[in-house]
Each structure stands twice: as C-alpha cells, then as structure tokens.
C-alpha cells in the first residue's frame, strides 16, 4: 500500500514524527493530506538534543519539514483490512455500472474505473502489492 495511504489509515493513532532539524513530535494523528502536512493532538515536542520538552494540545506540521514518521505495528493489520474493504467496494461499484446497460456506458467503459482507485498516489512507481 502506498506510503500516503498508510498515513491516512493511521489517523487517530499515536505516532512519532521527526523533523529535518531533529525535533520529535509524539502525538495522535488527526489528519493528513497529499503534501504530508499533519495535524496532531496531545503532542509532546522534544528538542533535537533531547533536553527540552513541550506539551502542546494540538499542532500542525508542514509536510516538507518532516524527516520520517514512526507508526505503531497495528497499522499494518488495519491496512490489510482497509484493502479488503476497498476491493469489495470497487467490485460492488463496477457491478452497479455494468448493470446500467451497455448503451449508456459506451463512453466510459470498465477500463477507466479499474485502475482508478489504485493509482491515486503513484503513476509510474506503483509496483507495490504490499
């Protein structure tokens, strides 16, 4: 599953963010977007030296300042369930379009929808069936 989709799945879970300057932010992920901008709540901010700490009720981190994120192990199991659900939803949607009658669907066809869900984040580099 793509990195950014894994991040979306991790919403509501605690994680650790390290910035390029070495500061670390431990908190619960509220939301994220395609630029990796994050909002966290109940955050503990640590200085790069590890000697100063702040507690922030909520914070916003701009994506381009992030070095890496550390997410809990449970996310991987959640990801698998999400993929199963997404696949079922896609199959349900395709069956619905097929039943509408060939004449109306001539322009759209099945091929436009088949790859639509899977290619959200990565075009050429989508060689990941993780």
């Amino acid at each position: 599953m793509l990195p950014l989709s894994l991040l979306h799945t991790a919403a509501g879970h605690p994680l650790l963010v390290e910035l390029k300057n070495g500061e670390t932010f431990n908190g619960h992920l509220v939301n994220c977007d395609n630029w990796m901008n994050l909002t966290l709540r109940e955050v503990i901010q640590t200085s790069p030296d590890g000697d100063r700490f702040w507690r922030l009720p909520e914070c916003y981190i701009r994506g381009n300042t992030i070095k890496y994120l550390n997410v809990p192990e449970e996310i991987v199991d959640m990801v698998k369930e999400e993929e199963i659900k997404a696949r079922q939803a896609r199959r349900g949607r395709e069956n619905g379009y097929n039943n509408r009658g060939r004449g109306q669907n001539r322009g759209r066809g099945g091929q436009n929808y088949r790859g639509g869900g899977g290619q959200r984040g990565g075009g050429p580099a989508s060689g990941n069936r993780a």
Binding site: P3, G22, I66, K67, G122, N128
Partner: protein, 95 residues
C-alpha cells in the same frame, strides 16, 4: 538498508514506495556502526520522506553472515558513538 541524510542507517523490509521515493519499512532496526562494531535498535514501522534518503540497497544475506563486524549491546555502541563524535568535534575545533 536505507541511508538517510543525517547519516542514519535503517534496515528493514521495504513494503511500499511512491513517485517521491517515500518509503515504508517494516520491522526496521537502526544500526549504528563504530569502528568495526555495530549495535541494533529495533524501531518498528517507518514511513520515510523520500527527500531525506541518500541511498538504499538490498542486503545480501550471505555476505551478512561473512562480515567481520562484531555486534555489541546497544548501550555500549551508543557510548562509543558519543566518544567518536566528541573526538571529531575536538578535531574540528583544532582546525
């Protein structure tokens, strides 16, 4: 193994990537090398932002077995690393 711009070496299973080379590593360990010793710190799941990656490569498990490096406990390697940094800083100051 992935090497980051800050010099960290992370070893894990590459689960996914995207067009920015953002990576997802599973069962990651951070390996610190000092001299001909190393120490491992288990880290779990990492989502690495692509621009921070210098390089990555597949580990040859056969070569891993034949390495001359010793594994030492984490506490020792961290102490050794700090000593190495302090020595480097002293050299820099002299320059």
């Amino acid at each position: 193994m992935v090497v980051l711009r800050d010099g960290r070496k992370l070893i894990g299973t590459l689960r996914s990537f995207d067009q920015f080379a953002n990576l997802v590593l599973q069962d990651t360990i951070e390996r610190i090398y000092v001299g001909n010793c190393y120490g491992d710190i288990p880290r779990g799941i990492f989502l690495i932002r692509g621009e921070n990656v210098v390089l990555l490569g597949e580990i040859d498990l056969d070569k891993e077995e034949r390495t001359n490096l010793r594994e030492i406990p984490v506490e020792e390697v961290l102490v050794a690393q700090r000593e190495e940094m302090e020595a480097k800083q002293r050299l820099e100051k002299i320059r």
